[in-house]
Symmetry: C3
């Protein structure tokens, strides 16, 4: 049995879980909910950068992403921040759909899987 | 090519699929739809326990979870059952969003990935 | 570090990403949006076949699938195409929920994970 490494485990989730070279991140949401979609997406991606670094990897090694938007109409604005953040030629497989999220002020939630 | 092991395969899905030490479970929904969110969540988690055991693992080795609630307002009630069920310090990376599910009486669907 | 192979990478996503024997596909949507749910599902599954083949695998080696329908009422019609396409006894672990998708004419989006 390979070992599982967990970061930021609390009662309901771990912020990141690593096993066998794969790194699973939580669905990251912003903390500052007064921001617009641009600001919220930037905050979420900065937190993803931080968690990937904790697990010895980075955004050049993303495998899969699921993005939930509270309003699919924010897709272009989110994509602008997302594509500026992504390294050239290193985008993950991705799905992006609308869903009501935990707090009505949360506009975006992003869950990625990466590898070391 | 490593072998794939499938449990409960029918025409549209397998209840669990194992490959290379990873165990992918279906989005589990309750069968008894007369239950409230507490009862439905308990039934779903019991079924997840059963499927993990079939594949030689258990809830201490969860990697990722996606939870869909038909009403995000049930999040706290679901979380109470979920966190009581989770072993201390072993929570998976998780996302939880609202979605309309296959039957209007289904309040919760949970899809987890674990490892052996 | 094992190598990551990406197919069809653009500014926002890769169509498929392979790592360590696992193949992650994008959430595939149809291009011809004048089709009904049957036609759209057929187009999506044909594209999944194509992407799996590019990565040296096929629909007998599906591990996980998430299916989003713009109207959960289309579930039976989608399932008819889906189950006819799946090889006997080789269904992936699956979740299927409703979500508003990138374009109101898109009726179905399917994201699968397979292995070589």
């Amino acid at each position: 049995m390979s070992k599982i490494h967990r970061t930021g485990a609390n009662d309901i989730l771990s912020q990141a879980v690593e096993y066998h070279g794969f790194v699973f991140l939580q669905g990251v949401v912003p903390k500052n909910l007064t921001q617009d979609i641009k600001g919220q997406t930037e905050e979420v991606l900065a937190e993803i950068d931080r968690l990937l670094e904790v697990h010895g990897t980075d955004k050049t090694r993303l495998l899969q992403a699921i993005i939930w938007l509270s309003d699919i109409g924010n897709r272009n604005a989110m994509n602008a921040v997302w594509s500026a953040w992504l390294p050239k030629g290193a985008a993950p497989a991705r799905a992006c759909v609308e869903a009501k999220l935990a707090d009505p002020r949360i506009l975006v939630e992003i869950m990625v899987t990466a590898c070391r």
